[in-house]
Structures are given as C-alpha cells and as structure tokens.
Amino acid sequence: MAVRETVAFDLERIDRLIEEEEAKLEPKHRASLEYRKTAERHVAGGVASSWQDSPPHAIFVERGQGNRLFDIDGNEYIDFHLGYGAMVVGHAHPRIVEAIERAARNGTHFAQPTRDLDVIGENLADRFGLPLWRFCNSGTEATLEAVRLMRANTGRDIILKIEGTYHGHHDSLMFSVVPDPEKIGPREHPVTVPQAMGLPRAFADLVRVVPFNDLDEARRAFQENEGRIAGMIVEPAMMNCGVIMPEPGYLQGLKDLCHEHGAYLAFDEVKTGATIAYGGAVEIFGVTPDIECLAKAIGGGTPCGAIGATEELFGPVVRGEYDMAGTFNGNPLTMAASRAALTEVLTEDAYATFDAVDAAMQEGLRAVIDEHRLPAYVTGVGAKGSVIYSATPVREYRDSIGVDERITYLAWLFQQNRGVFKSPWSKQETWTLSVWHTQDDARRYVENFAAFASAVTG
C-alpha cells in the first residue's frame, strides 16, 4: 500500500455526530421500539439471537423483496446486511419461492433421503473440488462436524484456530472469537479465551490460537504440540473484522504445514462459500482444503449447512464407525431451496454481476476515502466487502483492536438513516451483495459514505 497523508479521526466530533444520528434514527423506529416491549415479555432480551439486536435498538422486520427490506415502521432499505450474508439470492427470489412452495406441498420432512441430495452434492463437488458431502442445518453444526472429523481421523484432540474468528457457537470453537485485548496474552502464545460464560476450562485446553497470516506462528504451534494437533480450522479470508485477505502463499503454506505434521486443514467457508466466487475461496485462492464447511448462502434463505471432505476423511462416516447425524439433516425443504439457489440462481453469471457491482462499490468508496484523506481502505471480493478504518493494513485480529468502534458505529448510523441496512455490530462492517443489487444501489451506499466522510472531516 502506497504511503499517503491521512487525517486523524476526531473522536469528540464523532461522539457528537453519533448523538445527532441516534436522535434522527429514533423517530423512524417508533413501532419497533414499542414492539420490543411486547417481545421482551416472552423472548429473552426481545430477540431470538443476541446478534439480531442492532444497537441502539432492535429493528423488527416486516418483509423483504429482492434487494429491499421493509421494517414494521414501513421504512424501506437497500439491504446490504442480507441476514448476515445468507441472502445473496435476494429476498423472496421467484425460483426459491417456487422450489419452497413445491417442497411444502410434497412434504417437508421425512428423515429419509430424497433425490435432491446428489444434485446438490455434485454441484458442491464441482464448485469446491471435494468429492463427498453431508448436510446439516447451520454453520455451527458444520464446523462442529469438521472438528470431529479431524479428531476422528487422527485420534488427536487439539484443534488450531485463528485468533478473532467465529466458527459458530459450539463448545469446541467458542474461544478467542472477539477476545478482550486485556486477556489475549502475547502474540507468540495467545491465550485461548472463552467467548461466553458456561465453557469449562477443560474445553479451552483443547484449542490453540494463532494469528492470521502468519505461517511461522502456525509452525511454532505445531512444533510445540507435536503429534497432538488433529487439524486447523480457518476462514480463508477473515470475515469478522471486516474482510481480511490471506497473503499470497499463506493458505497453501498452512495446508502443507498441516500435512507435514499429520494433521488436516478445514476451511470455514460459511461466509465466503458461494459468495466471493462460484467456488468460494477454494477458487479465488487456488487451495483445496481437506474439509470444507458451508452454510448461509447455499440454502437460499433456509437453515442449512454442509460439510465436504476427501474420501479418506469421510471413511469412518461411510463405514459407520462415526455417526454424523441429525433429524433435520438434508430435509427436503432445505434441499429444494438449496438446489434452486445453487443450480438456478447462483450460476456462474451471477458472480460476474457481483464482481461488477463490487467494482463500483470499491471504486466509489476509494474515491471518497482519497478525497477526504480518511485513514481507511477498502477490501472486497465478489459479493462481500468492507471499509476498514485503519491507515495501516489490518492483517490479523490484533491489528483491528485499535480501530475505535465509535467510528464504525457512526458509519452504520449514517447508512441506516439514509436507507441502507448494513450488518449491525460495529467492527463487522462487512457488506453483502445479492443478485438483485445494482449500480444504483452501490451509488447510494457510496453517497451515504461520502456524507459520513464529510461530516467527520467537516
């Protein structure tokens, strides 16, 4: 990155702007604010998932159509949140609607296999270069099975994970997701920090944490735990602190390292799979892992997950030594929606559309950043992208710690008050595009960002 002059963010000014923008937001959501009181009587915290809250308040949704979202106050948004990146097919896509209606009429659940399965398996094999697949109902379930596959195939217990990544909320990976900077320890030996209460210490002992984009640290972890590491799970591009790209050679290096030490490499492509390219990170970065975890976008808006792996790794499952099971796995409704999403909507052409809109987003945002000399840069690929509020490149979680959350929160408020719904929770600043997003939508996003830039530097 070329060195350039940047201004510093004036945090006092930002605090003042936050107050103004929150005051503007509040009257737009009277119905949501009122409704939350009803919701809180029966739903813990008034929302079904802690992350469905969108500070400063929860926004209750009425409906969605294509690239648009409508809340219960009647506000219309261009939706760049897309249900945490799951709806790249857009809301209520006619093909998905038809597939689901048909599935509903034919029965949605038997706990017996149906004929959509192998079509989806073949499509995923084509995209990601792994021959065998199993289905489940969430990203959490997919990474849970990935971890278990690595353990079952090696007879080893320890899992290596990247500091600052989220892989679902099961007990074996719910560590060092967004760890408190006070507790993370030295970079060369990061502490495995429980992300929530209720995780016994014994579970943390099975996880070693390393920084992203650093092969030497991964090598050190393998050497220090020789013969004890079952495998490593990694988001090939980190998606939790904005989009952080892997440096050239990093992913291949990880794969070689894992194999040198008799361990496996799993890609968590819950967020990147079928969004950043037809074949996700496997295609973009040219590295095929031993295990691939998918969810979100592949279900076309129904609760889905999938695990792909080599024949070797699936051996114990195929032979029945290891039960990979779940009542709703591969249910006909999810499979029908997934089949339509993968074979009819997210075809190769769709990715050319994403790339074109992404280019407009990146170009427009970059121009605003340059014009206002913001200490920020843009990163993105395919349907995913982000603005990272740092003058120096963010290569790993620790680089993002210094980014003040008030800046990202204000950027969110500016979009929210101007008709764009971005994923809430500040540092996650990632946008997602659907097949319905247009150049006009990209322009709106850029204009709102320009308004933010003028206000903070004005």
């Binding site: 813990a44 079904a48 469905q52 009425e62 939706d79 109902n137 499952v317 099971a325 009542t327």
Partner: protein, 451 residues
C-alpha cells in the same frame, strides 16, 4: 408364561422379509449407488441409512409417504416424530407459501417469533424463550445456560438418552454397557469417534429412574453440579416412562444443592400434551428444550427458561446466537402449528388413535403370548421385546434385537413405515384404517414367529 421365540425361525423369516424388500425397492437400491458418489455413505444423516437397505423418499401427504419406487406407506416414522400435523398440512403449506413471498431470512427479529414464544410460554409455564434450528443446538444452549448461571461445570445426564450431536452431550447414548461400568456407577462413553475425553470430564452419567445415584453424586460433589438434563420420558430406547414421583423428586434434590433441572422435550414437546411433559407430569423445570414437532416439518428449536436462569442471556453475559435463529420461515410454520393445528382440543383425537394402534398391538401381544410389552403415550409408543417392564437403558439393551428387527421388516413389507428401533409416531391425519394396517402387519409377524 410367555412364549419362547425360536431364534433360527426368526433368522429364516428375516431372510425372507429382506428378499421381499429388495423386490419392492429396486429404485432405492439403484439410487443408493448414485448417491454414494456425492454423499458420504449415500445419505446426509447416519440414521437415514437403514438396515439392510436405505429407503429414498419421494413425497408425503397427510398420513402417507411414497418412496422413489412408488410404494405407499402409512408413515409411523414421521421423520423421527416431527410431522405430527401430517405431511404437507394445508395450513403449514399456506404459512410457508405466504412467508416465502415476503422473504425467509433477515437475521432480524420478526413478529412471528414473539407470537410463537407467547404460545410456548403458555404451554410450558416458562416465561422467556430463545430460538435455534435443531434439537442439538437447543440442548447445547441449555447446558451452557446452566453452567453460566451457576458458575459450575458438572452436568448430570441419563445413560442411553440422546440429546443431540454437540460435543458436550454426545456421550453414553447407544453404547455397549460392557464398556460403560457398573449400572449404578456408569462411566461416560463417547457416542462416536472424534470426541476428546476432556468433554467427558464434566459429565456424570446416571441410570434413568434411579434417584439414589443422583443423590450420591449430589452428596459427593453437589457444589460443583450446574444441573441435570434429561428426557422426562425416555424416547430413544423405546418409550420408557418415569416412575411415579421420579421427576418431582429430581426437582427437589437438585434444588437443594443449588443445581438446575433441564427437560429435553425435543421429542415429548407438543406431542404428548399441549404443554408436553411439563403439563403431563406437573413438574416445571428451570429450562425446557423443544424442536422437531413444533415446526410442523420445518427446522426449528427453542430453549425456554425461568427469568432467573435466562438472566445471563438477557444481560448478554452468555451470548446466545445463531444466524438462522427464529428465521421468518421457521417461525411462520411454528406459529401455524401452535396457533392453528395443535390446539389443545386435538389431543383427544390422539387418545382415540392410541387406542386403535397401541390397544391393537397390545391385544396381539396377549393373544399370541409374545414376550413383549407395549408402552405408549398419545401419538408416541413402542414395543419392547421382553416380558418384564423396561425401566432404563440397560433393560432396553436386554430386549430381543433380532425379533424387533423382524417386526420392523414386517411393517415395511406390510405398507407401514415406522422408524427402526425408535418409537412410532402417528399424526393427526392418521385414520383408524391407517393404524389398523400397522396392527395387521404386527399380527402377520406374530403369526409367523409363533407358527
């Protein structure tokens, strides 16, 4: 005295029934080969693979299921007890149709999630709810809530009970008792490969229907016990009912030690009563997990708790999350199921149906002097192939497996599809004639083995 069944005869009859199955399932058998090239083991869940062949489903309507060969079955499997409203119930179809046109996923709250929570509150007497997608996710959260709100690590679990596939509970489900220690001091045994023994450390395993063992654990290390999770009625070793007073006594015992009680009602949920085992037993636990039947065939689960235990969720000290939690499609279906289909007045219909099915099978058992007991509760039930009552998992292991398998094959070839080994489930759509088809197939089996 019950009849002694001839093992050699059972083996011979099994061969005959398997051969019949192969004749009726050519497409399923062929399709299994193709599926095996893309899907690990040709299926997406270990339990979809049946012994000896996997059945590929095509469609369902009401009480009926059709396989890819066009065979029709009275469905007593109902996807492991999920579709008690029947397949493709018009109200579920309508709810799904309406919702899919409005968008199925935003990762933001919608009104239906609140309406569903209101229904669950009323049915289960617990004030606060959160949603997930599967039973596995719900029990995982229940355990974490127990640990987070007590600050303790140990969890008591019943031997032979299945609480989903998450690492923290994937122990001592379908295991060999020879590897699991003495009955009153069972050791945790991992259900499957790939689960480190560290996950067993905070688990304590107890036999079902045995208060003394729970008492001993609480006396020894009660101050370290976060709580106990159990199926109030065991549903995966056939149906096993709790002894009189068992659940209420557990409640008291745990409370005395500051530990919590969670009912895993994924299977009993809204199936055995509008308010599940909570209503049926009159015992309200600190936490309830639900899944399966509440979605009418769409993946959804829920965890409900008292205000006290849910405090860690409300104040955010235990982040409870998930992208698809309460997605609009799942909650729209659940709302239709709870508000429009499984209304309290329909449970009387289950009682009549139970008379036909469980009553009919019990009658056959008696007439043929079979070494079997029938246990049923509304739309769920099972036959234990042993003359003495089954009170816990190890009793169930001692039942006659080959005989149970043969009885299941007779059902398949008789045009009925029950799960292999698990309890049967019928739906509101099942007619008396449907249920009699199962009784007739059971009688054909009884006649053959006793001939």
């Amino acid at each position: 005295m019950t009849l002694k069944v001839d093992g050699a005869r059972v083996e011979q009859l099994t061969k005959e029934q398997v051969a019949l199955l192969a004749e009726r399932w050519p497409r399923s058998l062929a399709f299994a080969e193709r599926a095996g090239k893309a899907l690990a083991g040709g299926v997406s869940c270990a339990w979809h693979a049946l012994d000896p062949y996997t059945l590929y489903g095509d469609r369902g309507e009401g009480s009926k299921l059709w396989d890819v060969d066009g065979n029709e079955y009275v469905d007593l499997h109902n996807g492991y007890g999920v579709t008690i409203v029947g397949h493709a119930h018009p109200k579920v179809v309508e709810a799904v149709r309406r919702r899919v046109g409005l968008g199925t996923h935003f990762a933001l709250p919608t009104e239906d999630s609140v309406v569903v929570a209101e229904h669950l509150q009323e049915r289960f007497g617990l004030p606060l709810w959160r949603f997930k997608n599967t039973g596995s996710e719900a029990t995982m959260d229940a355990v974490r809530i127990m640990r987070a709100s007590t600050g303790r690590d140990l969890v008591i679990k019943v031997e032979g009970a299945y609480h989903g596939s998450a690492d923290g509970l994937a122990f001592s489900y379908w295991i060999d008792p020879a590897e699991a220690g003495p009955r009153d001091r069972p050791v945790p045994v991992a259900n499957t490969g790939g689960i480190p023994s560290a996950y067993a450390e905070p688990l304590r395993i107890v036999p079902y229907n045995d208060l003394a063992v729970v008492e001993r654990i609480l006396a020894d290390e009660g101050d370290r016990v976060a709580g106990m999770i159990l199926e109030p009625i065991m549903m995966n070793a056939g149906v096993i009912l709790p002894d009189q007073g068992y659940l209420a006594s557990l409640r008291e015992l745990l409370r005395r030690h500051g530990a919590l009680l969670a009912f895993d009602e994924v299977k009993t949920g809204v199936t055995i009563a509008p308010g599940g085992a909570v209503e049926w037993s009159g015992v309200t636990p600190d936490l309830v997990t639900l899944a399966k039947a509440i979605g009418g065939g769409i993946p959804i689960s829920a965890v409900g708790g008292t205000e006290e235990v849910m405090r860690v969720v409300v104040d955010g000290t235990m982040e409870q999350e998930g992208t698809f939690n309460a997605n609009p499609l799942s909650v729209a279906a659940a709302r239709a199921v709870l508000a429009e289909i499984l209304t309290p007045d329909v449970y009387g219909r289950f009682d009549q149906q139970e008379q036909v099915l469980a009553g009919g099978i019990r009658d056959v058992v008696e007439r043929y002097d079979l070494p079997a007991t029938v246990v049923s509760i509304r739309c769920r039930g099972s036959v234990h192939f042993r003359a003495e009552p089954v009170r816990d998992f190890r009793d169930h292991v001692a039942t006659d497996g080959p005989l149970a398998h043969l009885a299941w094959l007779y059902q398949l070839n008789g045009g009925v599809f029950p799960p292999a080994g698990d309890p049967w489930t019928f739906s509101l759509a099942h007619t008396d004639e449907d249920l009699r088809r199962s009784v007739d197939a059971f009688e054909a089996f009884a006649a053959a083995v006793t001939a």
